[in-house]
């Protein structure tokens, strides 16, 4: 059985940066958002590497990465991501921040997926993060799947195996446990947790191949109409200000003790 895997994933600001919400002309934004370096959303990253791994192990699979984000920044991030795994990019130009409505984002993503010419919907495995580092709504992939008519959905996925009985899925559930389920086959949707794979090393040869589709995709990326589904009245930093400390060789016990002291204090 071959699969057509579509991974939904975009970019988030580099987590090392200072992220300060501000009121911009088009509503809330992060301070200097356009100028901050960005990375692939880690949850989407796990989904992408799992997809590439699956595709490499089964004949005739294809992988698409569907990204809704500001295309200039998307292009920068692709210079690293394109070297990680073979995929074809479908880009939609628009904000990737946490201040958009997941409903509208899902609509734009579903529309972009419907527009993929070679996509065989009977072979479709929809991948994405079970949440995002910019907006942990945890609802986008579900809504994309619904729009595409995919009813078999799994969230918090850590493992996906293709067996003779179909697709065996390991999902995170409460209490630190996993639930194993089996679904007969495509189409199905998977919101990935961390998965099991490390970030692949860069391979420029893969990057050069991917660029053949990535650059044209970025050039023809259409602007997304995300509408005014919801408004944000105000945003503020949490009460406790983030203070990053870099500590070398601290024993785990000491870290735990410090956390407990902090919670109690």
């Amino acid at each position: 059985m071959s699969y057509h895997i579509v991974v939904c994933g975009s970019i988030v600001p580099d987590p090392l940066q200072t992220l300060t919400p501000v009121d911009g002309p088009q509503g809330p934004a992060l301070k200097n958002e356009m100028m901050l370096p960005a990375v692939l959303d880690p949850w989407a990253g796990h989904a992408l590497y799992e997809a590439a791994n699956l595709a490499a192990r089964h004949a005739d699979c294809r992988v698409w990465l569907v990204s809704l984000g500001p295309k200039a920044k998307l292009q920068q991030v692709m210079m690293a991501v394109a070297q990680k795994a073979p995929f074809e990019l479908v880009a939609v130009d628009g904000p990737a921040s946490g201040f958009t409505d997941s409903f509208a984002v899902a609509e734009a993503l579903a529309e972009a997926i419907e527009g993929i010419a070679d996509l065989d919907r009977d072979k479709l495995l929809l991948f994405g993060g079970w949440q995002s580092a910019s907006r942990g709504a945890g609802s986008t992939i579900q809504m994309v799947a619904e729009r595409l008519g995919i009813v078999d959905q799994f969230q918090g996925v850590d493992q996906l195996n293709i067996t003779d009985n179909g697709l065996e899925v390991l999902e995170r559930i409460e209490g630190g446990s996993w639930l194993t389920s089996t679904v007969q086959g495509a189409p199905a949707a998977f919101g990935w947790a961390t998965g099991e794979l490390p970030e692949p090393p860069n391979n420029p040869q893969v990057g050069m191949m991917n660029m053949k589709t990535i650059m044209p995709a970025l050039q023809k990326a259409k602007p997304a109409a995300l509408g005014n589904g919801f408004g944000v009245n105000n945003v503020s930093l949490p009460q406790v200000v983030r203070e990053t400390r870099v500590v070398k060789d601290m024993p785990v016990d000491d870290i735990a003790r410090e956390l407990v002291d902090w919670i109690q204090g």
Partner: protein, 678 residues
Amino acid sequence: MYTLNTLPGDDVRQIMWRFAERFDLQMVVQSARQIARGTVATLVAQGARASHEWNEQKGQLLEAFDQSGLTSLFMDPHQGGFIEGPKNLALALVAFELSWVDGGSATCSLASNLALAPIHEKGTPEQRDYYMHRATPPQPGEDREIWRGAFALTEPLPYVGVDTGVLVGKARVDEWKDGEEPVLHVEKRGRFITNMDFAHFVTAAVDSADDRIQGSCMITLQADDPGTFDRGAPTLKMCHQLSSTRDPIISVKVPASRIIGGYEIKDGRIVPNYSHAEIIGAVFHRTRIPVGLMTTAKLLSAIEPVIRYHRSRFRGGEASGPGSPKFEMGLQQKEDTRQRLVDIWAAGEAGASLGFAAARMADEFDPIERQKETLLREQGCEGPRKQMAALRKKQAEALEYVELLFADAPDQARLAELEADALVRFSYLDAVLNVTIPATKLWNTGVGANFLREAISLMGGYGITEDCPGFLMHKWADSQLEATYEGPEAVQRMHLTVTMSNPVFLAALDKKADQLEASGRPGAAALAEGLRSWLWTHQFLASGKDAEGKKLLHRKRQGVSFPLADALCWLVSAISLMDDVAELIEKGPMNPTVAEGLEGLSGFYNDLAFVQVARATGEAGRILAELVYGFAAEGDTAPFAALRASTDAKLAGSRLAKDRASEALAGVMIPEALDYPL
């Protein structure tokens, strides 16, 4: 007053260093950066620099280079690489990214390329295919070890060092059967040879010790050749510990076909097609650029940790709480901390602009040089002497080309005609590169090392500890090697002594002064006058004699030519920065991410460039004044006095520029933590 929102990101660098359209290079940067801030930084943080020996831990570096494509970066696609065409800019960017964290790792990544460079530049097609193929990681389905190389020129004392003319490494004919390939016995002892712990082959410079071999050559020696391939003792170096260095002792028998570039048999003698001097000239012409940029990367890498240290210096104390200036700004409250950092930043930018400009031009130059070789060969001009004579005939046209290149409304047809003439184009690029390449190696490393010391000072006692964020002390120590290997500062000054007097270069410099002045940009007029002062001094020294009647500007008189070269380096690096800032201001609006903060970026970079111009013209002016007046030479020096006074006066506003830049520095947003471990 403008605001500098964030530290310049990749988008800004891609515009300034002109690779915004080259996604292959952008990917290479990401690859190298990931290794630098991952594998390399972890090794340094774990203390891998504490040993002279190469070990398994350090071996992770080679593995990381192989996996991420850096090992095959030097090769063409048909040899297993992935970038088509010249790769000077690519290699420069990689060296820059790796050195951002650790210079030794960059040396390690470049050393195999240095070993391959003689083969790449002058090797026969068979030699190229043989070694290049083995030096790339195996392709899917292949099972083989990756060959590493070492470049062996330097010899134990008292032999080859700065002076590479007389070699003690020797080649003799061991066996020469009729009609068969001669077998040579080659003996080479090396000193300070990089990659020697794991090299499968060395490219060695040797001289003939046999009547049947003519002159010197470079030759490849392999670890599996019959004889002795003793890797020797490790160099007890105190820097660049993430590279391997040993003093090998090699005595092996090899077929004469190993002579790089091949040989002919003339009158029963083996005549190598290239002498060792011809080959190393071609090799070092290019490989010195990345080395210069290594020190530069470290200077620019120091900015973020210094700002962070200054801002957070007093946090956690009882005297100042959140919201108070002492808590929020820390040492950045003090003007001097900010202004000295502006100086460091400006010097780093100038070095980067100079080095990357040289790398780009070298990419342009590579195919032209090959065209020139073919053309001259077709005309029967073989050998350096005949080539020089042929090129001298082109000088008038090269000068005309410079004239048109800088003209406001040039005769386009004539310009295109000259541009299409490979010999004219070669003459121009060669003239400029023969200054900018040694200038990159000399100025970026030597002056850069001094600025690195300043950066350490700004970190106080923390600066000289192993825990100092950004490994600044290591970086400073490493810069001393960058100033030394591949030709120490004296070698670059000797090179410049010859090349800075090339009339084509002098004409271009003169035109550049006019162009700068016409631009009306902050600092441009001062730099233009600085250049004119240098040109005037050059002319004065070239034609004048000292009070004792001795010639002034002369190849043997290093007390004149060396400082004159130093002054030139300050000026050309400032020109490069001015050029890159102009490019940023012109192209920035077209990139949406850069456009957002462009007002602040252009304000800041304009100021930074003016700061650098003030420093550069000041340093150059001091040196030139000594040279003009110091020898009590006869002649009217009034024009120099006027030029110097005019240069100084045109610095009006430069300190205000520094004030603004330093204020911007106090407000710039930096990440919460360094993106590599301590």
